[in-house]
């Protein structure tokens, strides 16, 4: 029996014993997967903002990025009777029935990175697909004075978001820099460092007028940067795209990587809590409102989307502080 009591006390250590008064708003935010830097930063944001507003909010990160686990976590939150459920979906369609259930139970549902979700009160984005793609295109245009060609990477040809970024970037380039044209079609290699590197080596060899890489997908800029470094073309071929600051830190400092944009997961965590508390208090979201963390918003009432452009630039000045946040 001693074993059992020992276990129960071990379990007791993990409880968040806190004084929950009845009036306090409670929130549960289910993210794609727990224990990775991106969502650790989001959890910091959630905890910080919850303390500021005096609400109870916690993040739930499933052990693997499987929508089945997200459905279970949301069902547990409904059973627990929280006031607000936040979610960063792994698969939008798979969550619709359980989110409908949550809303039937009178729970407010907020999502992030889920623009297609129907059963939500609001979905918010810190970066629009157009804004994000165009920001990178503008960066490429600034770096490259003479005309030539550039290559476009996406994580995979089936990632809708990456392709939307690439579409926006290519459209912006066509309009503003007709002298710079994309080489070939886009390449679906940017989730893999080795594929990104070898594709870049081939492209550099085949295209003497190659001026830059627009790499959408976390490993694309790193792989392309390595290829540029190997061929000693630093400064002639510019590499940009979103990547993990911790991973690309030294390459930014050596000038192989020009930089890129991302959004701040900690800020997204704060917005979850801010928006949740506003909606729980019965406030409605209006056009032109200034919401902390989002800025002045222009919501799309039909699609229930609040899309803003709160981009964070990754460059030689910002990369160290971003990397220190663990990103």
């Amino acid at each position: 029996m001693n074993k059992v009591t020992g276990l129960v006390s071990a379990l007791a250590l993990t409880f968040g014993f806190s004084s929950a008064s009845a009036a306090e708003t409670t929130m549960g935010i289910v993210v794609k997967i727990g224990g990775i830097p991106w969502f650790n930063a989001m959890e910091d944001g959630i905890t910080r903002r919850a303390a500021e507003l005096g609400v109870r909010a916690e993040m739930i990160g499933p052990v693997s990025a499987d929508p089945a686990l997200q459905v279970q976590a949301i069902e547990d939150l409904i059973a627990r009777g929280v006031d607000v459920i936040g979610v960063v979906p792994n698969d939008e369609a798979a969550l619709e029935p359980v989110l409908a259930k949550a809303r039937e139970a009178g729970i407010i549902v907020i999502s992030h990175e889920g623009p297609g979700l129907q059963n939500v009160d609001w979905n918010f984005e810190l970066a629009s697909a157009e804004g994000f793609g165009e920001a990178h295109a503008r960066l490429l245009s600034e770096q490259t004075e003479e005309g030539g060609t550039y290559a476009v990477y996406v994580g995979s040809l089936t990632v809708p978001l990456h392709n939307a970024w690439a579409d926006a970037a290519i459209a912006w380039m066509e309009e503003n820099r007709p002298d710079l044209v994309p080489v070939g079609d886009r390449y679906g290699v940017a989730e893999n460092v080795d594929n990104s590197r070898s594709t870049a080596l081939d492209l550099i060899g085949a295209n003497p007028d190659l001026r830059g890489f627009l790499a959408f997908g976390s490993q694309g800029p790193i792989g392309a940067g390595r290829a540029v470094e190997e061929r000693r073309r630093t400064g002639e071929i510019h590499v940009m795209g979103p990547f993990s600051p911790g991973q690309g830190r030294s390459m930014i400092h050596s000038g192989v990587l020009t930089g890129g944009y991302m959004w701040n997961p900690a800020q997204a965590g704060e917005v979850f809590v801010t928006l949740g508390q506003m909606l729980a208090e019965g406030q409605s979201i209006e056009a032109g409102m200034d919401i902390p963390g989002l800025g002045v918003v222009d919501p799309d009432f039909d699609g229930k989307d609040i899309i803003t452009d709160n981009l964070l630039e990754i460059n030689a000045e910002t990369v160290d502080s971003l990397a220190e946040m663990g990103l």
Partner: protein, 336 residues
């Protein structure tokens, strides 16, 4: 010889002590969580657990039979996915959300056939080629995954008729429909394994395939049949998954694969085949669900929760195993 009769007796009457250990653990958990959270024993939470457990439960039963026969079926999740795709594809041919009941019935039958076929192929390769079940089912898993990804291009099929929602989220007199489905399947599975000649063959084949063969049982046919039935259960799981998520995609439920193996072993199934019962496995499933929902309910720290989860699993095994005593008595005997 006494060992053999003992084993046969165990096989016949069932080790009640094994169930007892699990039930004690379950009771401790339920009482513990009930004290820590007033919400644990509410209808809302019990209902939520009732909706969550059947999917894992069906997949675990699909894993159970091959393990009893001395094998393993690693392809369960992807078989379920591909069967779900079969149903989804059929529904889409008849107008997606507008598809009638007949289309659903046809899709279900097709899904069951696909499940049975993929299982039977695995069983046939295991039985007649003599390849190791781990390799065969791993190959099948990769094949089904690739096939599914090829057919869907990694995307999902969603938007099913409204009546499917009842299957995934409905209740009958307060009991979740998925739980009723699971109870029926589990009962059928129990009867099949314990009360039919086929079930007897499965246990005997699992104990010693060659001996079973010499004793006049058609061990090879048994293997084909058991993998086919396992595939049918996967199909049922796949249909339930489609109903619960209102969408099908290759990879849904991937995380459940190892948990099904775990539930089987927690439920006292012999990893080498031949021994084990359905009832303790179901108790083990309930324990896993109570643990998972309970930890979520009390808002346990996510990072520590995983560690506590592991600790509990070890504890359940220690408490459950009559083998602990067996080992102790073995050591004692050696000392003498």
């Amino acid at each position: 010889m006494t060992a053999l009769t003992e084993r046969l007796a165990r096989l016949k009457n069932g080790p009640t002590s094994e169930n007892l250990g699990l039930l004690v653990m379950l009771a401790v958990l339920v009482v513990g969580f009930a004290i820590l959270s007033p919400r644990f024993l509410t209808a809302a939470n019990l209902g939520s657990m009732g909706f969550q457990m059947p999917l894992l439960g069906l997949l675990t039963l699909a894993m159970l039979a091959p393990i009893l026969s001395g094998g393993l079926n690693l392809a369960i999740v992807y078989t379920a996915n591909v069967c779900g795709l079969t149903l989804a594809w059929t529904l889409m041919q008849f107008g997606g959300a507008e598809a009638g009941m007949a289309a659903f019935a046809l899709g279900t039958v097709l899904a069951l056939i696909v499940g049975a076929l993929s299982g039977a192929v695995m069983g046939a390769v295991v039985a007649y080629v003599g390849a190791h079940p781990i390799l065969v089912s791993l190959a099948m898993m990769i094949f089904l995954r690739g096939l599914g990804e090829f057919l869907t291009r990694g995307g999902d099929i969603s938007g099913f008729p409204d009546y499917m929602r009842v299957l995934g989220h409905g209740s009958v007199v307060g009991i979740p429909v998925p739980l009723i489905l699971f109870a029926v399947v589990a009962l059928a599975w129990h009867v099949l394994l314990r009360r039919t000649p086929h079930g007897f063959s499965v246990y005997m084949t699992g104990s010693n395939q060659r001996a079973a063969q010499y004793a006049g049982l058609d061990a090879k046919r048994t293997l084909v049949l058991i993998y086919a039935l396992s595939g049918v259960l996967c199909a049922i799981a796949g249909i339930l998954m489609a109903a619960r998520f209102n969408s099908v995609r290759v990879g849904h439920g991937e995380a459940l694969l190892l948990i099904t193996v775990l539930a089987c072993f927690l439920g006292g199934i012999d990893p080498f085949g031949g021994h084990g019962r359905v009832v303790p496995v179901i108790i083990a499933l309930v324990i896993l669900q109570v643990l998972s929902s309970g930890l979520n309910l009390i808002g346990a720290n996510q990072h520590l929760a995983t560690a506590v989860w592991g600790l509990f699993l070890i504890a359940v095994m220690v408490l459950r195993s009559g083998r602990l005593e067996q080992m102790l008595s073995l050591i004692m005997r050696k000392d003498k």
